[in-house]
Symmetry: C2
Subunit: 428 residues, 2 copies
């Protein structure tokens, strides 16, 4: 058996302690599977005195993650601190420069500096693995990079922020408004300190950017993502979409179009009876579509101590077994600069509007859609006792540009109470 | 870039031709991802003259797969012939003895000779990969062996025979009896030449045996699987189970119990609103449960040219990248001899019986269940116009032994028209 693989773990929060526990609990199992022992030699966190749910007495302590990253008795630097700059970034770069492999759960760091880190790793002959950064316990990085390596990837989709899916499904099942459920989620500790990271789609956007890079052989380009959060989703939209057979999800979609790489993280309608539509609560789901394999759906816990630590350990065991590959599945220097194509892919749209109760109002709406080249698949006008009538329209496939033109046209008709809600229907 | 990896492909049926097409179509993509070219040097099939949907003119032809396996210009022997003995077995052993790596889609061969082949591979310093052997395009072998390598595995479940799932869901949706849908499936070409391989659960059992070995570190033990096919599932059972909120699936389950390794491939009831319950048609689903990760669900196409060839290519690209590991995830010599535990895990059961319309009949049934230590969760007696009354019972968790004792007890009461149907309810 080879020498033990020695880990230095920076960050002893939930995931860090979860990783320590697996290494301790499954030492024999892991050695049997990896062909060598996996041991922890040193750890690092902000507060040494904090009471933690694991015995760390056998490990050297470092106050400085950069010092940990450079220790001679560390083979793999395990970065579980988080943050797209500052100590996490410094220590990751220091580890690679010092000839260490890196395992990280840090989606923000890789979404912002993935190309720089991948190039540095390759120059140093080291690997950077990040299974834990995307969709928690679901081995989606491995599935995409390795399991589907023989496929041209057509589309990658995912519900990858459990908090948003919790909020949306709770609004749906309890009939509660966004604000109420948001406060519930905050009280339950489901939200990041800065909740915009969750409900604004930023956290999920980081994950999508990493998947897109692997899928399409492009440099990570987080800034090119069309980002829209769930803050404006109303209980009305959830109910009305339900009437038409849809669920609303914060869905990430990346696909290569004729105009370039389209990356969106935004609320979408999906069929209620599809795997994505049936996804409840904090569970994550990723859908991968390849030209040979067709559609693969992966479902599992997207966060939490055990699931995320499981993903960290998968990367560690790969390194222990000697499985080494470029960060994003091909040499970083061969990744292309993607052309960002905003709203390029055509799709059906869901439109919800309130019509003033005037003769010919619906005819004017229909005329505007016709002028924009949008044809109607289904329309429903609800009974009403006030002077406004709720109207739902599901269009046939069209472009975002056409929808925007129609919204402008609606304004000129003066028969709507305000701009309509327009949500893309993703075909899954 | 390293030397090209040279494949010799034995078997040019659907999967073989699918593999040839991917190598040809995606030569550049694969070279970029694998870090070296992947090329085909030689092929082999029974009938050279057969018209095939691919240009094979650049490859050497062998009539004998053993000769192909030994060719000096072949690095990886790709076995896509099938069959648990005969040429597939001979050629696989010959390839390993000649120092070739092996990629195979042959579940039957590995279910019967997996231990021998794994030991031979390790003595020869070669690898045997078999992603395509289980659940078609779903990268389940990789997910279990690598993605969840840090977990103690608790349970593995799967719907892994698309034909059986097609038959059961078609019976359900069209309200047709088994015999009619079986003939439909045969006419559509969904059935193996020997349909018992499908509907008897043998094909799916082969797959379960391979997953169980990886999950629990045990030698493949196909003979220890409790095997029951779908031939006796009636449209009545499907309807009645539906009334109680369940679907019937041919479900493989492997779990380590206090009494040993339990492996079952049999019809089970699962909640209609669970991912397994919602699975329609020929799609496959595998559920993996680990002590850290919790539950991971994988869904995708279980057969067909593209999906199965995608899995073959994932293994090939792993080998090209230099990722090498023992066949069943740990050295074959360290796999344990499992103690086979039949029907060890407790579960609720579904019982369907027909009661003679006699006073006290239901009381006698209840008394028999009580004596067997079985408590009733839900009971439903249907209205009837004849002299027999259909009765459904869902029990609380109990053992198969207790159910068998109750079935014996029922016979003595003489209030049933015959033995009840008893189907395990798998908690998912």
């Amino acid at each position: 058996m080879s020498d033990p693989l020695r880990l230095g773990i920076a960050g002893l929060g939930t995931v860090g302690i979860g990783t320590v526990k697996i290494v301790q609990k499954h030492a024999a199992l892991i050695a049997g599977r990896a062909g060598r022992e996996v041991v922890i030699t040193a750890v690092c966190a902000r507060d040494r005195a904090k009471n933690r749910d694991a015995d760390l007495s056998a490990y050297a302590w470092e106050d400085d993650p950069v010092a940990l990253a450079r220790r001679a008795d560390v083979d793999v630097f395990v970065e579980l601190m988080g943050g797209h700059d500052g100590p996490a970034r410094d220590a990751t770069l220091a580890a690679l420069a010092a000839g260490k492999d890196v395992v990280t759960a840090n989606k923000a760091l890789l979404a912002h500096s993935g190309q720089e880190i991948a190039e540095l790793a390759e120059r140093a002959g080291r690997v950077v693995r990040f299974e834990a950064a995307v969709a928690g316990g679901i081995p989606v990085i491995k599935t995409l990079t390795e399991g589907l390596a023989g496929n041209g990837i057509r589309r990658v989709m995912g519900v990858m922020n459990g908090t948003c899916n919790y909020i949306l499904t709770r609004m749906d099942s309890a009939g509660l408004p966004y604000e109420t459920v948001f406060e519930e989620a905050r009280a339950l500790g489901y939200l990041e300190a800065d909740p915009t990271l969750d409900v604004g789609g930023i956290d999920a956007g980081h994950k999508l950017a990493l998947l897109a890079s692997i899928a399409f052989g492009t440099k990570v380009s987080f800034d090119a993502i069309e980002l829209e959060g769930i803050e404006r989703i109303s209980i009305d939209d959830i109910r009305r979409a339900g009437d038409m057979g849809f669920k609303i999800k914060l869905l990430g979609v990346a696909q290569m179009t004729g105009r370039g790489l389209e990356q969106r993280m935004s609320p979408c309608l999906v069929p209620a009876d599809s795997p994505l539509g049936q996804l409840q609560g904090g569970t994550n789901m990723v859908v991968l579509e390849g030209d040979s394999v067709g559609q693969i759906v992966l479902r599992g816990p997207g966060a939490g101590e055990g699931p995320t630590a499981s993903a960290v350990m998968a990367d560690v065991i790969d390194i222990a077994r000697g499985c080494r590959m470029p960060t994003f599945g091909q040499p970083a220097t061969t990744l292309s600069d993607p052309v960002a194509a905003k709203a390029a892919a055509a799709a059906p749209y869901y439109l919800r509007m309130e019509l003033l109760d005037k003769p010919g109002a619906l005819a004017k709406v229909a005329a505007v859609l016709g002028e924009a080249g949008i044809s109607i698949s289904r329309m429903r006008q609800y009974g009403h006792e006030s002077t406004v009538a709720p109207v739902l329209i599901v269009t046939h496939r069209t472009t975002r540009d056409a929808i925007d033109a129609a919204i402008e046209g609606f304004a000129a008709t003066a028969v709507l109470t305000g701009p309509p809600v327009a949500i893309r229907i993703e075909q899954v």
